[in-house]
Assembly symmetry: C2
Homo-oligomer: 166 residues x 2
Amino acid sequence: MDIKEGKEKFLQSWGALGSSWGVNRTMAQIHALLLISPGPLSADDVMEELKISRGNANMNLRALIDWGLVFKNLKPGERKEFFVAEKDMWTVVKNIIIQRKKKELEPMIRILEELSEVEATNEASKEFRHVIKDIKLFSSKADSMLDTLVKSDSNWFVGTFLKMIK
Amino acid sequence: MDIKEGKEKFLQSWGALGSSWGVNRTMAQIHALLLISPGPLSADDVMEELKISRGNANMNLRALIDWGLVFKNLKPGERKEFFVAEKDMWTVVKNIIIQRKKKELEPMIRILEELSEVEATNEASKEFRHVIKDIKLFSSKADSMLDTLVKSDSNWFVGTFLKMIK
DNA sequence: TTGTACTTTCAGGATCTTTTGAAACTTTCG
DNA sequence: CGAAAGTTTCAAAAGATCCTGAAAGTACAA
C-alpha cells in the first residue's frame, strides 16, 4: 500500500471512529491528519488536505484544543498559527475520558442524588428507589475508578493490564 | 420529590446520557422506563408512557433486545408480548462494551493492520508507520483489557477497583 | 379458512447536527 | 495610522438521523 492510499484510509477510519466517541467526524479527521503529519500544520494546510471550509477548520481546531488533543505551535517569525497533535495515545484517551466524565457521568450522578429523594409510597416508587440506588452505587464506583485511571500514568496502564490479562 | 416528577427526570436524563453512548435517545428512554417499572410492559405501555409511535417503539425495542439490554417476556395465556429490562448495571455496561468493541474497536484494529503495510519511503511515510504502530499497540492492549473485563464477573469489578482506588 | 390481535416494515416528513462562506474582528508592521 | 495577514463568528444551507403512521405480515383460535 502506498502512503497516499494509507493516509486516505486512516483519515476515513479515524473520522468514523471519532463519531462514535463524542468527537465529530471532522474533528477526528483533523486530529488524524495532525497525528500522522511529521510537522506542525497551519489552518490552511488542514483546509486544503481535508477540503473543508475555513470556518469548519477553525471551529474544530479550537474544540480539539479545548479537549487537550491539539496544541497551538507558534513558529518564531511567522504570523500564522500552526498546530500539532497530542501523539501519546494514552494521553489522548485520558483526555477524552476526562471530558466525557465531566460532561456525562458527573451530571448524571448529581441527578441520581436528587432522585434518591423520591418518597417510597407504592410499589412503583419502591422499585424506582431501588433502581436509582443501584445505578448510583455503580456510577460512583465507575467515577472513582476513572479518577484513578486518569491520575495513573501510561506505564501503570500498560503494566497493570498486561498482568491482568494473564 | 414525588414519583411522577422523579420518573420524568430520570427518563429525561437517561435518554440524554444514552445519546452520548451510541444508544439513541428513545432507545435509552425505553430502557429507562423498563428499568424502573416493577413488572413487564407491553409495546402499547411503552408507546403511551413515552408518547412515541408504534413503529418507533417496535424498532427500538428490537434494538435493545439485540444489545442484550431488554428481554421478551411472554405471559402464558396472553397473546401480547411484554418486555423487561436487564437490571444489573454491570451486565448492562458489559453488553454495551461488547457491542461497541465489536462495532468500533475490532474493525479499527483490522484497518490498522492493513495500514502497517504502507512502505516507508520518505519522512511522511516513516512518521505514518510510527503513529500507526503506536495506535495499533495501544488498541490491542485495550482490546485484551476489555476482553478480560467482560469475562470477569460483577464482584471482580467491584473488588478489584475498590482495591485499586486505595 | 377466516377473523382478530398483534408485530414488523419502510417511505416520507420532522428534527437535529454539521458545514459553508462571507463579514467582522484582531494583530502586526511599515 | 492604514493596509495586509490572519482568525473568529454566525446565519443560512446541506446533510444526517430519527420518528411517524399506514400498510403489509404473522400467528393463533374457532
